[in-house]
């Protein structure tokens, strides 16, 4: 016990009360005395440091049992240990007393060694209760802190998600000699898919699709930062500010800037591309991102690209661009691994073959119908409302241009 225990001694007989009080003081306790139940309750209200009550059972007015009940009704955060003094064992209704909240009973006349032993038990119980109460308070405080932190985190995540979405282009745009259509289905957890398509000064179109590895705020922040970097300026030559740069040069720049260290692996996969002004030649650099699918106006869809290093993993990685020739009506379809790695309830992945089938089946439908069909397919495959990973798709269709 850290502090001297404060004991309230209640007895209508001054003689008994004094005797008990003297014994308690001798045992090292601080004593407060009361002549009846009403006085006892007043003392308890006045002094919240009283944690133990020894009361006579039979008293005029409020009895010991009634006093127990009223003590339990007091608005006190800590437990008050109550011992009742009994004149003769067996005559009182112990069950009723215990139901009223009595913790212990002592026979009169009080035997000192017994009193000392019972008080030690009471102290032990009170100490445990105090400790438990302290821990409960600490837990409640910690819980409150966690809840606040969690709410803040959630708000931050939502803000990050909003920032991320706000950087995306309009879902449907005609740029240069092509029509672009995109969609992003966000996963439960915030992730790092972003894409953009923008017209370059010479009339060609610069675009990219990008997926930061992992989930959470880290991934989202990196994707937002990349989005801000990959402006029109990043796509054109520094010398004249007009000529589009080869896509692999843009990717190589990013790879130099975003080398992750050995401890954290913040890297991303992307496809960076430039579609020339007449919509006939597309140059792309594939950096670990899934293979794009070319859908000719006539003929079977085909997967293109030979893979490539993700960005940020290896400093020495080299990048190359490939060229895709397009005729008016030809489409190119880009997607994040959220599509092919979308899992069915039994864990099977959606895969490239199914994707190719859907793209072939919807080949003659408008671009937005094609994308909507794929999304419906994926929902059916996944059979849950929310996806585990972002699903981003960008489709591009070359359109016939008037040659003057």
């Amino acid at each position: 016990m850290l502090r001297k225990l404060r004991v309230l001694c209640v007895d209508d007989s001054p003689c008994m009360r004094d005797m008990l009080a003297t014994s308690l003081v001798r045992l090292g306790y601080e004593v407060v005395a009361a002549g009846d139940g009403a006085e006892a309750l007043a003392a308890l209200r006045a002094d919240p440091s009283i944690s133990l009550v020894i009361s006579d059972w039979m008293m005029p007015g409020i009895t010991g049992v009634e006093l127990c009940k009223r003590i339990r009704d007091l608005p006190r955060p800590n437990h008050i240990h109550v011992m009742l003094l009994t004149a003769r064992q067996g005559q009182e209704n112990f069950l009723e007393a215990m139901a009223a909240g009595a913790d212990d009973f002592l026979n009169k006349p009080v035997d000192m060694p017994t009193l000392a032993a019972r008080l030690r038990v009471a102290e032990r119980i009170l100490t445990l209760q105090q400790r438990m109460q302290r821990n409960n308070t600490l837990l409640a405080q910690a819980n409150q802190k966690l809840r606040t932190a969690y709410r803040r985190l959630q708000e931050d995540m939502e803000a990050a998600a909003r920032a991320q979405r706000s950087l995306l282009p309009k879902p449907s745009m005609t740029l240069g000699a092509a029509h672009f259509l995109s969609s992003l289905t966000p996963s439960i957890e915030i992730s790092g898919d972003v894409y953009n398509y923008q017209e370059l000064p010479d009339g060609s179109v610069g675009f990219y699709v990008l997926d930061v590895a992992g989930h959470g705020a880290r991934a989202a922040l990196l994707s937002v930062m990349l989005c801000r970097l990959l402006t029109v300026e990043a796509f054109v030559s520094k010398e004249d500010g007009i000529t589009p740069r080869p896509p692999h040069a843009i990717v190589a720049d990013l790879n130099r800037q975003f080398q992750c260290d050995d401890n954290v692996t913040d890297y991303f996969t992307m496809i960076c591309g430039v579609l020339d002004r007449d919509g006939r030649t597309m140059r792309i650099c594939q950096a670990g991102h899934p293979h794009p699918v070319v859908l000719p106006a006539r003929g079977k869809p085909r997967v293109v690209g030979t893979g490539g290093f993700p960005v940020g993993l290896f400093e020495e990685a080299d990048y190359a661009s490939i060229e895709i020739s397009l005729a008016p009506g030809d489409r190119v379809f880009f997607y994040s691994d959220g599509v092919t790695e979308c899992a069915s309830p039994d864990g099977s992945l959606y895969g490239v073959e199914r994707l190719l089938q859907v793209l072939e089946l919807t080949r003659s439908a408008p671009l937005d119908r094609m994308v909507a069909t794929l999304q419906a397919e994926l929902r059916g495959w996944h059979q849950r409302d929310s996806f585990d990973d972002d699903i981003s798709v960008v489709a591009c269709e070359s359109i016939a241009t008037e040659v003057c």
Partner: protein, 112 residues
């Protein structure tokens, strides 16, 4: 998640995680680094127990390889089809040493 055994002079770490994805990536990295703490010179990563590897799993693997590359060049083996596809897509097969089976991987190191 990692089972370790020594075959001759070679430490073989078998990864037993059918889906090595974002949920396991951090634990995978920590356990691998623990097994590699004594800086063994010849190491094989047996991936035959991994059927799916996502981008977080790949990040963790590359991070382990980079961390140990001053004392060993791990040889990977037992790549399952999806992992093999992922390695081809991301060119990991060009920067990491990949062999078919554990025996082939061990033999390639023992011969050094």
């Amino acid at each position: 998640m990692i089972k370790s055994q020594t075959i001759g002079p070679v430490l073989v770490l078998a990864v037993e995680a059918p889906r090595l994805d974002a949920a396991l990536a951090v634990r995978f990295r920590e356990e691998m680094l623990q097994h590699l703490a004594e800086e063994p010179g010849r190491v094989v990563f047996d991936f035959s127990g991994v059927t799916f590897l996502d981008s977080s799993g790949l990040g963790a693997l590359v991070s382990v390889v980079k961390r140990v590359n001053h004392h060993c060049k791990p040889v990977l083996c037992g790549l399952q089809p999806a992992v093999r596809t992922m390695f081809a897509l991301t060119r990991m097969d060009k920067v990491l040493q990949v062999r078919g089976t554990v025996d082939e991987a061990v033999a390639s190191l023992a011969a050094e």
